[in-house]
Symmetry: C2
């Protein structure tokens, strides 16, 4: 004979809760000040009505706060709460059959149908009496008076009472009968990051290329470059690995198998006799120099991000000190990295299947803590998809438990499910396929997946038109208009974006060989000299775009992204919007149109979804091109655009909801 459930009278059902990632195994992501809107299917048997509350709390605070949920139709309910602090939050739902509300609405129908309701009034009075028992002091007395009034009430007076008596309703809602409430069987998590997790503009450079003529650049040299980076409106300065570079099997220029004595090697070949992941490459300076750089950067409005690449050069100290962390070949040598038939002899991977995995994990965590201690809170995690997912689950939790302000950028350019799993592990931002998406159809499909599906709950896109490893064909072929278009796309499609410079703003577009997406004479393997004052530099255009990003909240988050039809496949049109105009808050709406053809002028008719833009169907409105400062009066959905890539391949319009003469 089967056992009974502990309580058979919990009649409310709660299911299909959103957000809920992988049955609650992973947390949703938000930033400070965001709202968490929670929806669920809820219903009970029979005709009785439900009430429900959304319960939430900070993880470290055991006390729940409750907010009412409201029905949306078709048994879907919704409630929301704001997350005001960084760190973890939990939420769950409680729902119950609301006998008073069921009684109240039934009584109204009976009165409307002319039924005799004296017994119903007494039944209602009993419910109010019960609530009085749950109430305190004044409220109790008030409820008892209401119960008496119901018992004595003539039908008409009661009808008015149950429709309009705010006090009775309010008190009954304050003291509900929740004995048989159903509690959702999971507590779901949200990780709340600081604002930069949602809105950040990254600039990557190799410090060694900014030295005095003929010399290896240092952190001290880099201090002089900070104003240049800041002037373009970036707020993150990201440095490739800053550690000593291995000498054994060091790569030469253009990834040559052997290096000349003067070749500096790839910064990702980490570790030499001079130290490993907790050391600074001597030619860059010292840990103290780095700390000064961090402080100076801050003075320039820049946060320093460093690259954490959990891999070693063959002469990394770990190889001697912890041979058990590396796999051996049958001849006793350490196994280098390979992806057959490709070999990476300058890198030896850590063996995450080592018996000593706990010690290895702890050391890698300590690397992160070490740099946190030097003032870093932004980490670009290199190739996370080549380390076990469980390791990331653990590492991110470890770090964020102590430092919830840390942001990790996941550098995984790999298969989609793997990229998403790394984001679920808690890595804060993620590189995306934007780097290769060039046609309108490709861009629309991908960004609708990123911003309209459940993916947006855990995967924060970071859009990069280039990286030191990736010079996409479109940039190789399209010249300056292609660079402008790609930056505008990155900066308006994604609230998080970045470039690898100065290669980008200087329009560097020579591939190692035709068909390659590697740079010719890639900076990964040599020291470059960049002419930052080159006449055709994109720095002013980038500065203008970044200023538009800073001034327009619409561009500081991604969920509102909406594509609008346009009758030319070489033109793409989309909007973002912040604020809905309620609470006196001013809505901010940005409509971007980009010509994807870097060679020719393209024109077409946009067919705007006016509702998505907060516009009336018929009225005129002004679109203000924040790039050119031109203003146009548009009307309705269909409007004409024409873009000459050699002048400016894009409009970034702010929609002014009231047309103003000028």
């Amino acid at each position: 004979m089967r056992r009974f459930p502990p309580e058979g009278r919990q009649r409310a059902v709660i299911e299909n809760v959103k957000p809920e990632i992988d049955a609650g195994r992973f947390a949703a992501k938000r930033t400070v000040g965001d709202t968490v809107a929670v929806e669920a299917d809820m219903f009970a048997d029979g005709h009785d009505l439900l009430s429900a509350v959304l319960k939430f709390r900070r993880k470290k605070d055991p006390k729940w706060t409750e907010v009412p949920m409201a029905p949306l139709g078709n048994d879907r309910w919704r409630g929301e709460f704001a997350v005001e602090k960084i760190g973890g939050y939990l939420y769950t739902i409680e729902a119950w059959v609301d006998r008073f509300e069921t009684w109240r609405q039934g009584l109204a129908k009976k009165i409307a149908a002319g039924h005799e309701v004296s017994l119903d009034l007494q039944a209602g009075a009993s419910l109010v009496d019960d609530a009085a028992q749950r109430a305190v002091r004044d409220d109790r007395a008030k409820l008892q008076r209401h119960a008496a009034a119901l018992r004595a009430g003539a039908e008409k007076k009661v009808a008015a009472k149950i429709e309009g008596d705010d006090e009775l309703l309010r008190l009954m809602q304050k003291y509900p009968d929740r004995r048989f409430a159903t509690r959702y069987d999971k507590e779901l998590a949200v990780v709340v990051d600081r604002e930069k997790a949602r809105f950040s503009t990254w600039y990557e450079l190799f410090p060694r290329s900014f030295g005095k003529p003929g010399a290896h650049g240092s952190f001290a040299d880099l201090e002089r470059v900070l104003p240049y980076v800041a002037s373009m409106g970036f707020d993150v300065l990201y440095l490739p690995p800053i550690h000593p570079i291995g000498r054994r099997h060091r790569k030469g220029k253009n990834n040559a198998l052997s290096a000349a004595p003067s070749d500096p090697g790839s910064p990702w070949a980490i570790g030499s006799e001079e130290g490993g992941h907790k050391s600074v490459h001597p030619e860059l300076g010292t840990v103290e120099d780095f700390k000064r750089l961090v402080a100076k950067a801050k003075d320039n409005g820049l946060e320093i991000s460093i690259d954490i690449a959990f891999q070693c050069a063959p002469d990394h100290p770990y190889v001697k000190e912890h041979p058990e962390w590396f796999r051996k070949r049958p001849d006793g040598t350490v196994q280098f990295a390979e992806n057959p038939p490709k070999k990476y002899e300058d890198i030896v991977p850590l063996d995450f299947e080592t018996e000593a995995w706990r010690e290895l994990w702890a050391e890698l965590r300590d690397v992160v803590f070490f740099w946190i201690d030097q003032g870093v809170r932004l980490f670009r995690m290199d190739n996370p998809h080549t380390k076990p997912f469980r390791f990331w689950d653990w590492l991110v939790a470890e770090v964020k438990a102590r430092h919830p302000d840390v942001i990790f950028l996941s550098e995984a350019f790999t298969r989609p499910k793997i990229m998403y799993r790394l984001a679920k592990a808690g890595l804060t931002q993620s590189y995306t396929y934007f780097t290769w998406r060039r046609t309108k159809a490709e861009i629309v499909e991908y960004f609708e997946e990123l911003t309209e599906t459940e993916v947006r709950e855990f995967f924060r896109p970071s859009l990069w038109p280039n990286t030191p490893d990736i010079l996409m064909d479109y940039l190789q072929e399209g010249g300056r208009p292609a660079f402008v278009a790609r930056y505008i796309l990155a900066a308006t499609l994604g609230s998080n974006c970045g470039i690898y410079g100065p290669a980008f703003e200087l329009g560097e577009n020579r591939p190692r060989e035709p068909g390659s997406e590697e740079y010719l004479n890639a900076e990964k393997y040599e020291i470059k000299r960049w002419d930052l004052e080159k006449a055709d530099s994109l720095k002013d255009l980038i500065a203008a775009v970044n200023r538009i990003r800073k001034e327009n909240p619409a561009l500081q988050s991604d969920w509102s992204l909406k594509f609008h039809p346009i009758d030319n496949d070489r033109l793409i049109c989309y909007s973002k919007r912040a604020g809905d105009g309620s609470n006196g808050e001013r809505a901010n709406t940005i409509l971007t149109v980009v010509n994807l053809n870097p060679r020719n002028t393209e024109s077409g008719w946009v067919n705007l979804s006016l509702a998505a833009l907060g516009l009336d169907r018929d009225g005129p409105y002004e679109v203000h091109d924040l790039l050119s400062d031109a203003r146009y009066v548009w009307r309705g959905a269909k409007n004409y655009v024409e873009l000459n890539p050699n002048k400016l391949p894009a409009h970034i319009f702010r929609i002014e909801e009231r047309t103003q003469p000028h």
Copy 2:
């Protein structure tokens, strides 16, 4: 400091497993002989390859069986198992990094690229040696010989060996290194029913209407009707409640508030001084008579289903014996059923919020067990949506644990999420909105939801063109062609279907008043006389359709349902298919076209999805109308159909994949 996970080297990830209903809280449904195809996203970090097995077992057998899973692309994997016995099954997944396979494929690439691989051969030999340690007897020796051969092998021989050595591959797959295998964190359930859960044809009648002239019909009278029902090809005979009918507040004809002394009352007003849910209405006979009816029905190929309605007439014995199971009004009387402003004075509902809910649940379970003891295995559960879902979760589990052959039909005509939740509780079949879906768009949308989404895993539709409570407007207006069309739709769209007869086959279509979907002089409230031999009875048409159902496996399940475009909204076209022609199994494909306009001939061009029909693009094929016996040679996707509703409003074609002359 955070604890480490128990094992950090489980590198495989398993997610997005299907079927998995509500995070594994509910079981999927299958019938004996079905296949359970399980899919999951699986991947590991890095470039290493995975192997994975699907594990399954009968719930009562602790031993797992394993079948390999295979990749489908984009990190999706699939495996399947057959369910051969009724009762519960469990399944889960295990996946691991396959070092041998990773080595083997890497080696092949290196050899192809002309690399020197002597160290790789030794590394492979070590993997084979390790496997030998896991192997038994002969296998161990064989593996050791293979390891030696690898160590000694010249490259070319090895290349041939690793490509083509079936024995080495087979042995390495037999003894994999699963130390760090990831086990999916849930065991998911399947409930396997007997075949009738998937394929059944129901006939509902009121036994009391089949008595001798002027008399109340009895079970003995009903025995004489069995051949009639069987002759139409039905296999379930379902009887409304067979218990004593209450006298207090009994309803009269046409649901009148008071009954004449001769009025028999509604069978759903259960219970009187003559007994309750475990008794038989005296005018129908005795429990012994019922058992004889069950046996005689079986002789006619019919299974008896009874109605279980967990509600009471005011004079049900429970009301006196268990007053605590009912809610009281303030005047001390028992609360009757109501849905304000509607009142149902002849019914008192059970109070599932009673303190004595455990005793109530146990008694209701015993009602089911009582009728199981009398030979019933099919129950039509009345209004399950007015009893708590937790009760159904428990009741179904209770009953099926002892009697896995029991089938419950859920009579819930209510909101969609509630209907689905009842199906998740385990109720075997469910009434559907088919009863009201009349246009092509409505039918296509609804049946795509039922057969193409996750709903199909737990919700088995039962299609009823009419019930004693529901005479849809289309039947009221459309005359005989409407009845024919609705039966053919029910019988070909749904492998489970039923009618309330003889009202249906005799074309009874008079509503109580215009705009009502109640029958005039509804049989619920009075004894009817039916002329079963009426000239325009649909019985022969129904018999023909039911014969087609029995002879064509395509119509005995629902998942293959596919709608085909046709350029006339009054015509609907769809196919079902069983068998895929593999394993020598002969595919069976039925293509149905129905004219939804009961008044006029309609014609149009179908545009068939040939792939869904197993047809080549260009070849001719024969369509054989199993209703009219006409045969047509069609070619390609576009073909012409014309249907005169006054002759036959439908084609039920069998597609003969090879055209045969005749």
